[in-house]
Symmetry: C2
Subunit: 365 residues, 2 copies
DNA sequence: ATTAGCACTCGAAGGCTAAGAGTGCCAACA
DNA sequence: TGTTGGCACTCTTAGCCTTCGAGTGCTAAT
């Protein structure tokens, strides 16, 4: 079902204006800003039809119109000008990204923070880790009561743990255990680590102190923490600057929902990771979660490398500046993919300050 | 300046009631709940005097009284019944603590979250790390382009980093570097790591690829991230359930302040870490930060071991349930000190589920 | 010193009105 | 047929007034 060109222009102008002001928009306002050379009466007729079609609604009879979710959807799909970032904005993002590439989990938090700062909405950062296995064990002998476990995972992250023992061990035992673990515990998933396997390793090493159990339990912990979905939310406080959240109850409800990343994860698993499109917009009732039914979510996905997929998104009122938000997230995601993704230069200690400049994203004027 | 016993009882009853209801308390209400056998008129006289003394104030002439900061201060110092936790509450906290002892930084977040959940106020977790040095380097050779740096710090934390090289190295070089770093980079603070030291190490190792620089820069990063003060804030959203923050502007201001941990740190450095008392209460204007002038902060400090001090606190309206909050934080801090502090069993992979049961904290009825 | 009584104050809540914004519709017009 | 000016109508918002009630401070009696 398509609508006339003029209706589209009117709808577009109305949404733009509403995004700016957060106030219902009247026919006169549209007449003056839309640039169509027609009077407010004409606009009124059009508005009446757009309302009948379900794109607009009136809070009450004598107020202006505001977009319905269907109206926003139309706006996002067809009307919205794909906004491009200015060169300064793009450079700013690049600069900040280059500062921030550290640990993976730290990173997610940082990236979320960055998204939130850029858009002035609360941001969520999700990562879906593919199940990993251990690639390699090292045990570093420190002294008779202390050693360090270092494991390298199939996704190239490295984890360690300092172990303090109430009893003493010798370096040989540590060495033997390292060899055994490298032989028996690499390449397997955490559910393959059975009590049987552990006890047989203990016996093989001549370990009577439960060392193998300690190492095995750290291994399982590590493997388990590496798979599944993780979520960070930042900048919840920015919600409060939005007029639609002046009602403390509304704000409270949404913030409660957001503050527990677990909910997001549960919802995310229902399909958020499936779709491959670059930036997705979920408007109001399109969201699965009850608490988000009158908010909107904009999400961009990126490749974190090692079969891991990241999502970076923001949450805001349905009256959201979709165009600006989508542009920023898209650029951010592209930057992250290039830096982390499969095709990227391997993460290294060297400084690699590649500057990303996709012409489709940056406005080079 | 001391006040009569009866005035104290009245003040105490009033504060209790106000904490419960968040509404100004009138003379009649006090007469009926205080248990003093006197009429509301008598109470009124006393209230007038308490008001003159600066402990109470009236929002307007014909409303009941609410406590001033001075009133709360008096309440906290002298009147408040030191609340004890029930056995269930104590056990609940212990159980949760035992689940949560993981990485130090992770831990702080978790502990903050726990405090926030327990008290239903936003929580802040601060740690003041004593400057650390590197105790030991290990470099694990993986393949020609990859090795892992593992450093053990003087405070017994272990950090690692996977390094991917664009060029290839042999195992000998790695070994040589490890030896050199153990000789030259252990026991020194990060400002001792000079370009000169790095270049001389490079020369000594015959390293022409800047490997030493990579390792050194990781070392500096690690050392720097280990000292200073760190802060996490959680549960900001809980503010919104407090009636005094129904005003979105007020809530927004405070949440903005809280959400940037940096501010807290700056303020914290002005003395928060000095005082040795177990639980401190900062009421309204007693706070340094402008943004906290009409909120209260309750803080408990604990020993994180290795010369590191932790603070765990909550932020809420001046009308805060000081007694309950203080009891919970105190118990939490004690539990953390026992688990982490100087006297604690060394952190180990073994499960050490000691149960803490200070009679001064738990109510054993 | 305590208490009952009473006049007084002041905010909260409800009802009313006026102002203003925006609509829908109609009749006139191109 | 599409567009436009005009106009009556609707509905919200803000302001004002009144009423109601809670709680006070004061006074006089005990």
């Amino acid at each position: 079902m398509s609508i006339s060109e003029r209706k589209k222009k009117i709808l577009g102008a109305l949404v733009d204006e509403y995004i700016k002001t957060a106030e219902p928009v009247g026919s006169k306002a549209i007449a003056s800003i839309s640039g169509l050379g027609c009077s407010s009466a004409t606009i009124r007729n059009e508005l009446a039809e757009l309302t009948a079609l379900g794109y607009l609604e009136q809070p009450h009879t004598s107020a202006g119109r505001i977009p319905t979710p269907a109206g926003y959807r139309m706006y996002v799909n067809e009307l919205m000008e794909k906004q491009k970032l200015s060169l300064e904005e793009a450079e700013d993002i690049n600069r900040r990204l280059n500062e921030k590439l550290t640990q993976l989990d730290e990173q997610m938090r940082d990236v979320g923070k960055l998204a939130s700062q850029l858009t002035d909405y609360p941001a969520l950062a999700l990562a879906a880790y593919a199940p990993a296995t251990i690639k390699r064990f090292d045990l570093i002998y420190i002294d008779a009561n202390t050693f360090i476990i270092v494991v390298m995972l199939s996704n190239n992250t490295v984890k360690n743990k300092l172990v303090n023992l109430p009893v003493s061990v010798d370096q040989q035992m540590i060495q033997k255990l390292a060899t055994l673990f490298n032989a028996n515990f690499t390449g397997i998933s955490s559910d393959k680590i059975t009590p049987l396997l552990i006890s047989s390793t203990e016996r093989a090493a001549g370990d009577t102190m439960g060392l193998a159990a300690v190492i095995a339990s750290f291994t399982m912990e590590t493997l388990e923490s590496q798979q599944g979905v993780e979520a960070y939310i930042t900048g919840e406080n920015r919600l409060l600057s939005q007029p639609e959240f002046r009602d403390p109850d509304k704000a409270h409800k949404l913030m409660n929902y957001l503050s527990d990343g677990g909910h997001i994860i549960a919802d995310a698993e229902n399909g958020l990771f499936d779709d491959e499109s670059e930036v997705r917009v979920l408007i109001g009732p399109e969201n699965i979660a009850e608490e988000l039914k009158d908010s909107s979510v904009v999400i961009a996905s990126y490749d974190m490398g090692d079969n891991t997929k990241g999502l970076i998104g923001v949450v805001g009122p349905t009256r959201m500046d979709y165009s600006a938000v989508a542009a920023k997230l898209s650029f951010l995601a592209a930057g992250l993919s290039k830096r982390l993704g499969a095709g990227a230069a391997p993460p290294s200690g060297m400084h690699n300050k590649l500057i990303i400049k996709g012409d489709d994203i940056i406005d080079e004027q």
